[in-house]
Symmetry: C2
Subunit: 316 residues, 2 copies
């Protein structure tokens, strides 16, 4: 005999978005009206949120990664019995994919290829590299870093993940053999590093983390990718390293200053790829949210810990 | 008690290249002189190959993917007792990585980003795509196709592999859920295809496989990648589809004609990325050969079937 399916409601509005309905069903639950549901997927803002929730609602999934507005609106205080989850981490995969696109474009010498108007195969041969056997250091092992590792592994790259604790990074698709190093020992990493991906939060401790000293320890074949915040790289030092050929190039989705002003050297350096903080564009966000919903519905049905739980006492 | 290690010789010349020595040891064997070895890794040409091999040599690894010269030189006929293997497939990973770089560069709109000299975030947003949830059809499931699939899976792409038999594609890192379709049913694939990677051999049957009819069935967001041979795509039809916006773009490591002549429209179309058949450049080949050697040494030590066996009767 089958157990009755877990009922999940989707709000606000009817009919629910098809992607969310699919996520609920593929996660192993059944779409239900709010009165018969154990969970609620909320795709709207805090202003439209119901004043009262049925007692049967154990879990509410919110659509935003940062939920300051929901605290301000008093939503968590008003519904103390429900476990709320945010969309934190849901958008990491798109940013990680962007980082991989920038890194591969650099390593495969695509900027110069795109400028070419003649075959010149022999000129290009020595500049085309590969990630196979190369060491990619990912500074920051949060959602973006953890999403990027499984993308780099099948390319044969050796990954060093850098986090604050130095505790081994784990997660779906992350092999146990991944090397994790504490930020305290960051200086030991550079002699072994071929390429750097910056994916750490902007804090006082990470300000200008990649400066002239670090850039001097990288290789003429190294690419530096930043998909985190512009402040993590000393822009003047980077421009100097790019202009002198101390490193091979930089792929930047974020800059300091941001937006990057017209006429800035990074617009004209041939070995800089600048994308205007568009690694997680609006039209990709809803599909990413639906993926996150599917994963959390499955966890809810299976009684596992939910992704991105909100702790009202902690404040996020 | 440990069994004595399997001895493998490396030739010609002394000392052996460090990468090959490392491959032998990491494959679980020990470096040995030819007289005491059961296997021989040969990094030279057929002209330098020993006239006589010790009876103890069971296996010889050659450094080339195509071994026509070795047949011509009569090497296999002269050493009928040894199993020879080629380097076929060893260079597929680099070509697959190049295909991924071209595809991601296209989907992430990097060509236009590289031309930009101003932030214009709102202009870029709608053009930045993702492979997540998209269907990538790989035409040809040989070494390159089988190397590319594990690179696409962690990006969340749905992969359709197309081969002659329609038998499910298998291999390291290839999930059992990968869909395989026979070339006989190729026309059914296009309505479901977001992006195409051409990785099939050039034959009479594959000549202009991607022509005006196929291009018309793709999407304005589709990228077409060719890392196989130029003849598989009808260049004139492709130029027309790129110019009209019928497809989003093309990433071409091979062209017809090749080399692509100066002044050809593909050099100036903003949505064409041309690389001059440099996806497997000379300086990457030796490291790829060493990886292949390591894999085959391990198989030899474990008594498993070797990769890329040469059948003297079959002629390749």
């Amino acid at each position: 005999m089958n157990r009755p399916a877990v009922g999940i409601a989707i709000g606000p509005g009817e009919p629910p978005p098809a992607l969310l309905e699919k996520a609920v069903v593929e996660g192993g639950a059944a779409l239900a009206d709010l009165g018969e549901a154990r969970g609620l997927i909320w795709a709207g803002g805090p202003g439209e949120f119901p004043d009262e929730l049925p007692d049967t609602i154990e879990w509410v999934q919110l659509p935003a990664a940062g939920v300051e507005d929901w605290f301000t609106a008093g939503i968590f205080a008003r519904h103390p019995k429900a476990q709320f989850t945010s969309a934190a981490g849901a958008f990491a995969a798109s940013v990680a994919e962007h980082a991989l696109a920038l890194l591969l474009a650099g390593v495969r010498y695509l900027p110069e290829h795109l400028r070419a108007a003649s075959w010149r195969q022999q000129d290009f041969f020595p500049h085309v590299g590969s990630l196979r056997g190369k060491t990619v250091t990912i500074v920051g092992a949060g959602g973006i870093g953890r999403a990027l590792i499984p993308m780099l592994v099948p390319l044969g790259a050796h990954v060093i993940a850098v986090n604050r604790s130095g505790r081994p990074v784990t997660g779906p698709g992350i092999p146990e053999t991944i090397e994790t190093i504490s930020t305290d020992h960051l200086s030991r990493v550079w002699p072994r590093t071929d390429h750097v991906v910056v994916a750490a939060p902007a804090t006082a401790a990470t300000n200008h983390l990649i400066g002239a000293d670090v850039l001097a320890r990288l290789k003429p074949s190294s690419w530096v990718i930043n998909v985190a915040r512009g402040s993590l790289i000393d822009t003047d030092a980077l421009v100097a390293a790019l202009a002198s050929g101390a490193i091979a190039g930089a792929g930047l989705d974020v800059t300091e200053p941001e937006p990057l002003p017209d006429g800035h050297p990074l617009w004209v350096l041939p070995n800089a790829i600048v994308t205007p903080h568009d690694s997680n564009p609006p039209q990709l966000r809803f599909a990413a949210f639906a993926d996150h919903v599917g994963a959390n519905v499955q966890r809810f049905v299976e009684g596992k810990d939910l992704l991105a739980p909100i702790d009202p006492d902690r404040g996020y």
